[in-house]
Amino acid sequence: METLWFWLVSVMVAIYVVMDGFDFGAGILHLVVAKTNEERRQVLGAIGPLWDGNEVWLLAGGGSLFLAFPKVLASGFSGFYLAMWLVVWSLMLRGISIEFRSHVQDGLWRHFWDATFAVSSVVLPVLLGAALGNVLRGVPLDGTGYFSMPLWTDFQLGPQPGVLDWYTVLIGVFALVTVTAHGALFLAWKTEGPVHLRAKRLAPRLWLLVLVVWVAASAATARVNPAILHNLPGAPLAWVAILLYLAGLGLVFLGLGRERFLLAFLGSGAFILGLLAASAACVYPVMLKSTLNPAFDLTALNASVGGHGLRTGLVWWLFGFPIALGYVAFLFRFHRGKVSAAEEGEGY
């Protein structure tokens, strides 16, 4: 049951990254691919109806983590205290910038929200990527099950690292580049006209950059957490995940080559999903690794709540998850086709 919940939480988080990833990407790119007010509204029109639902995956994933592994949530959230609030403040400003931009027809008002939207969209994937980096590298958990970290120290690894060191920044940059490339495919798929052309032109270059950073990030991860490579032969799910992300990567380049952007976008979703699943499979059962002593690791086994709670949660989860997927399908179907800018006062 603990293993199942480890995977349910991982799947929820991975779906979150894929879903919010493309609207982060749209936010990162919009100053570049959308020059005029009309074009920016086209970008916002594409993600406007979706971003809030995408972020619910974070809350639902967090809720799943809370109910199944409360010790991990308690330790991680309090340990990353200041970094967590940077994430939260960025999420808040980003949401407001999407929702409020269209309310006033004024150039300065809109420039302000465009900039807020772009900056928060850059900060978030870097921080969330760095969070993943921290999970892979480990944190100074001691016997109490808690830790406390400064935002950064000397950017070196060691038993007492900061939230940001060269490795976690590298993973943050990888996350940034990947969601940007993911977002470019989404925009190429959902828009037409100049935005489509610019996104289409940028996408292959961004994906080549993803490949470069990916190799660097993988090599660094193998060095920072050798257990991952060590676990690989004994983790069949990791091989499935690797096949998934390789297939995804193949689809990305196939889709780009044939200008079939939905295919490429689905490929990049599979790439992200596969990468995260492979990481989860290789670190299992460790959820929060200790840099001080492996005995202090928080794992799916020693941090989970009792069986009755997990079984109860599973019952409603099995109802809720298909409904949530149904909403996603409904939304994409309702907003199918290319997006054009809404008339003033009629949309994002």
Partner: protein
């Protein structure tokens, strides 16, 4: 200032109070919008859908601020209340997870359709989006109230050997009697907020002599709903909530009333200042035996005073608790009176010309907000010194390694962000009010 617990409590209290200024309006307005849309579908009259369109715009602005100010609350469980989260996550994680899964997905999927979809959807489809938002926001309210009810009156759990709380009965937890009572009281209060806002806008336009059709419709809808729901918030739901407190938290009841001595035929204090060190109420005005009746249904019941309980179980801030309760109950009574008068004049056809009362209805907007905030202060100060009543003390629930300075810093950060949000909200809502309702030619 160096005590982390103080800052953790201040931060949660501050951010939760600020956040709840927005959902109380959206949850109430959601019902108003559903009613207006339903009337529009039924009668085919454009004035109903015009009114709904105006309120949907107000709803959208409010909802956005509600969503983003709600995010930090979810995070604070882990960041500031780590030991509480560790011990009780297996239980309250259920409702918080269900809120995401069953309520937030529903709301977020239909929000865009409600706000921007009127032209894309059929009238029935758009009505459906309004119903979805109403259901989603009220469902979300239930999961949060059920979570809070577990802290007020824990049910359906057992304490495991390692000190963590384990779920033993999902239904006992989810259908906690405290949750049912508090939910009814709170949701009806949210409709009161919505109604007062609608009535105030109607009164404002009537006083200005603009948008006559819409002014009349909003004034009528707001005052009639305002009267019905402000009565319901007192009776039966407020009464039920009082009896729950009397049954499960008798110490809190004594503190809310500033009652130190026990005895039958307990008097209700209408006015007076508690002096905790002297164990008495200064200059009280009391109604004999009414407190006994409110708490237990008979005038002769014994209502225990604080002195009957060990002092380490008293809420720490009895004065604030006492004032919060009396402000809530006093404003509640005042609001019933105001709306009763307004509806009486409406019935006699004189409301639109009785300018002093229109002024009063317009300026009464803060009352439901203050009453609701004070009501939650009663619930939360009344729960002290417990985080989970009778199970975990507040002092034992905070994060062990987070410094006071960090929490002070982030609390000030929130204060800054909230100032910005408040200004934006006022600016955008002010624009909508100035712009007024618009008719859509079909």
């Amino acid at each position: 200032m160096g005590d982390p617990l103080f800052w953790h409590r201040l931060q949660f209290g501050f951010t939760a109070t600020y956040h709840y200024l927005f959902p109380q309006l959206t949850m109430g307005l959601a019902l108003v919008i559903v009613i207006l849309k339903a009337l529009g579908l039924r009668t085919g009259e454009a004035r109903y859908s015009d009114a709904a369109r105006f309120w949907i715009r107000i709803f959208g602005i409010n909802f956005a601020v509600g969503v983003v100010t709600g995010i930090p609350l979810e995070f604070q469980f882990g960041t500031n209340w780590a030991r509480f989260s560790h011990l009780s996550g297996g239980i309250i994680g259920q409702t918080l997870g269900m809120e995401g899964m069953f309520a937030f997905f529903l709301e977020s999927s239909f929000l865009g359709l409600l706000i921007w979809g009127e032209k894309k959807l059929s009238p029935k489809g758009h009505f459906g989006a309004a119903v979805a938002l109403w259901l989603g926001s009220w469902l979300s309210g239930y999961f949060i109230i059920a979570t809070n009810a577990f802290m007020q009156h824990p049910t359906g759990f057992a304490v495991a050997a390692d000190g963590t709380l384990q779920l033993t009965s999902f239904w006992a937890f989810l259908l906690n009697p405290w949750a049912l009572g508090q939910y009814a009281h709170n949701m009806i209060a949210s409709v009161v907020t919505g109604s007062f806002v609608v009535a105030a806008v109607g009164a404002y336009w009537t006083l200005k002599g603009i948008h006559p059709v819409q002014a009349d419709l909003n004034l009528r809808t707001g005052t009639i709903m305002g009267l019905i729901f402000s009565v319901l918030v007192a009776f039966p739901t407020g009464d039920l909530q009082g009896k729950l407190v009397a049954k499960y938290q008798p110490i809190t009841l004594a503190a809310m009333e500033g009652r130190f001595e026990s005895g039958p035929r307990a008097a209700l204090t209408l006015i007076g200042q508690p002096d905790v060190s002297e164990r008495k109420i200064e200059n009280p005005i009391k109604v004999p035996a009414v407190l006994s009746f409110i708490a237990y249904g008979t005038f002769s019941s014994n209502v225990k005073g604080l002195l009957e309980f060990p002092q380490d179980q008293w809420p720490q801030n009895i004065e604030l608790l006492y004032y919060s309760f009396h402000i809530m109950a006093g404003l509640g009574t005042l609001m019933i009176g105001l709306m009763a008068l307004a509806v009486f004049l409406l019935w006699r056809g004189k409301l639109a010309t009785t300018r002093p009362l229109l002024w009063a209805v317009m300026l009464a907007v803060p009352f439901p907000y203050i009453a609701t905030t004070a009501g939650w202060a009663v619930a939360e100060f009344g729960r002290q010194p417990w985080l989970i009543y009778g199970v975990l003390r507040t002092a034992q629930g905070s994060s062990p390694l987070v410094h006071a300075g960090h929490t002070a810093f982030t609390t000030l950060g929130f204060a800054g962000i909230f100032v910005v949000f408040s200004m934006l909200w006022l600016f955008l809502i002010g624009r909508e009010l100035a712009h007024g309702p618009e008719s859509q030619a079909h």
